[in-house]
């Protein structure tokens, strides 16, 4: 009996989701205990209840949803354009040695540059418009993605290319039908890095930017809350930022992998 109980106990703890919920519960418990001890002012550490209440009222008023959609719209625009540019750069590098040099030089210069460092310059160039934020997102996505896609192209077995030539595919057909699907594991790795960088850059840029017109995005939402000393509102915004990060990394990208490279038995 004891053995079986121990087994069940272990199985429960092997379940990753359970472990995560378990530690989150512990964390929330400690949080609430600190709050109840009144060691800190509620302005610094609000109770979980007020955070949830603030989240609820901000969701209800539509403000939090509007800002979230605004941020997501910007990042997906940037991601989309970034993906197209990356694939183009990687393809050009693959076709021509001269372009390979150009892309390598550009990447060497731009890759170490944090997107947010470009902000003053971009504001000068594009003004304080949403275009500027999209530009920063594209910058955050393009370099890691182009780099990964290109190393994916280069890692492709030699026979794939020979098969493409043997079956009389043009160079564009080889890129489209063979190189892109064959380098998908690398592309997805690049996308993960690109997404993480873009998401961070977006939130920072929004904070510095403030509202351009009606909306300012999630970054501006939490920054505004500070001005009003609305600490529960800040935490509510932070929770949404974390949730979206988790959702995209663990649901969107993982499912993309399951539907493609894992189904096909491909990995790096």
């Amino acid at each position: 009996m004891i053995m079986i109980a121990k087994d069940k106990f272990n199985k429960l703890f092997i379940n990753k989701i359970f472990i995560r919920i378990f530690w989150m519960a512990i964390f929330m418990l400690i949080w609430e205990m600190i709050y109840l001890s009144h060691s800190f002012s509620p302005l610094i550490l609000p109770s979980l209840g007020t955070i949830l209440k603030s989240m609820y009222s901000n969701l209800l008023s539509g403000e939090l949803i509007k800002e979230t959609l605004y941020s997501l719209n910007l990042i997906f625009k940037g991601l989309g354009i970034g993906i197209i540019i990356s694939i183009t750069l990687a393809s050009l590098s693959f076709v021509s040695k001269l372009f390979e040099g150009l892309v390598e030089t550009l990447t060497a210069i731009a890759h170490p540059l944090p997107g947010i460092a470009l902000l003053p310059l971009i504001i000068l160039w594009l003004g304080a418009t949403p275009h500027a934020i999209v530009f920063i997102i594209i910058h955050s996505v393009v370099w890691p993605l182009a780099l990964n896609t290109y190393s994916g192209f280069k890692s492709i077995p030699k026979v794939y290319r020979q098969i493409g030539e043997n079956y009389e595919l043009s160079i564009l057909q080889i890129i489209y039908h063979i190189l892109i699907p064959a380098s998908l594991p690398y592309f997805l790795t690049g996308l993960k890095i690109g997404w993480a960088r873009a998401w961070r850059a977006l939130i920072s840029a929004e904070m510095i930017f403030g509202a351009t017109g009606e909306n300012g995005g999630l970054g501006w939402f939490i920054f505004k809350r500070r001005v009003f000393m609305d600490t529960p509102g800040i935490f509510a915004g932070l929770i949404v930022i974390v949730l979206i990060g988790i959702l995209v990394e663990n649901l969107v990208i993982v499912n993309l992998e399951k539907l493609t490279i894992r189904k096909w038995g491909m990995s790096i």
């Binding site: 026979v159 020979q162 699907p181 491909m266």
Partner: protein, 247 residues
């Protein structure tokens, strides 16, 4: 005569020296020949096959297919490799075979290309596997698919670079028998590189023995043993020792 090799020479440039891989290669292949190329490792037999496919450039000489010089890879000469990963992992078996057909025949519908693909899937005895992905198949099955993909495009010459080299003995025997059957049923010409003398005698009607450093054609042996063949049949060991003594 379908293929003529005329005075072919090929060298690889190393960091400080040039090494001659193939020198003065001259031979002809007739329509419906099953030519096996054997030779010690490093004699350039795989290189020779790659040159016929035009995957690589040669220094001098010429290759004529139906009396015309060939310069680029074409659908009339399809290579089957030794590597198991010559199938595209993101395509199912039927898609792998139908893909080259459709790319070269834009007016053909997906359904039509699948019909053709299925015909060749049953030719290599892989019925019911059409919707599997390559990673779900064994090595022998993958090689069957690669052969089906090559045949489905209806080439004149099948170039095979030790396609059974990584298979276990039993699977290899099955695939050898299947390949002979296909060769007898179709009017395809096969050039088959192997290091296995047994395999060469079982399959071929001609055996090209190569020499190494540099690679040269040492002798072409006619192999007229009656089929079905087996290593115990009269005459088998005579050819075996003839090839063996040349290597």
């Amino acid at each position: 005569m379908i293929l003529e090799m005329k005075n072919l020479t090929k060298s690889f440039k190393g960091s400080n020296s040039k090494s001659l891989v193939l020198e003065h290669i001259n031979f002809n292949v007739n329509r419906r020949d099953f030519l096996c190329v054997v030779g010690p490792s490093g004699c350039g037999k795989s290189t020779l096959l790659k040159l016929i496919a035009c995957f690589d450039k040669f220094d001098s000489g010429s290759i004529l297919l139906n009396n015309k010089v060939v310069t680029a890879p074409q659908l009339n000469r399809i290579m089957v490799f030794q590597e198991f990963d010559q199938l595209f992992p993101w395509k199912t078996i039927v898609e792998n075979i139908a893909f080259p057909i459709r790319v070269n025949n834009i007016s053909m519908s997906k359904k039509e290309s699948y019909e053709i693909a299925k015909k060749y899937i049953s030719m290599v005895n892989l019925n019911n596997y059409e919707n599997y992905y390559p990673h779900e198949l064994s090595g022998g099955m993958k090689q069957r698919v690669a052969i089906a993909r090559a045949l489905a495009i209806n080439p004149q010459i099948l170039l095979m670079d030790e396609p059974f080299g990584s298979l276990d003995a039993q699977t290899r025997t099955t695939l050898q028998e299947m390949l002979i059957e296909i060769w007898e049923q179709t009017n395809i010409t096969i050039i088959f590189v192997t290091h296995d003398i047994h395999e060469a005698i079982l399959l071929s009607n001609k055996i090209l023995v190569m020499d190494k450093n540099p690679g040269r054609v040492k002798k072409i042996i006619q192999n007229m043993l009656p089929r079905p063949r087996n290593p115990m049949q009269p005459g088998f060991s005579d050819i075996y020792y003839e090839v063996y003594n040349l290597l």
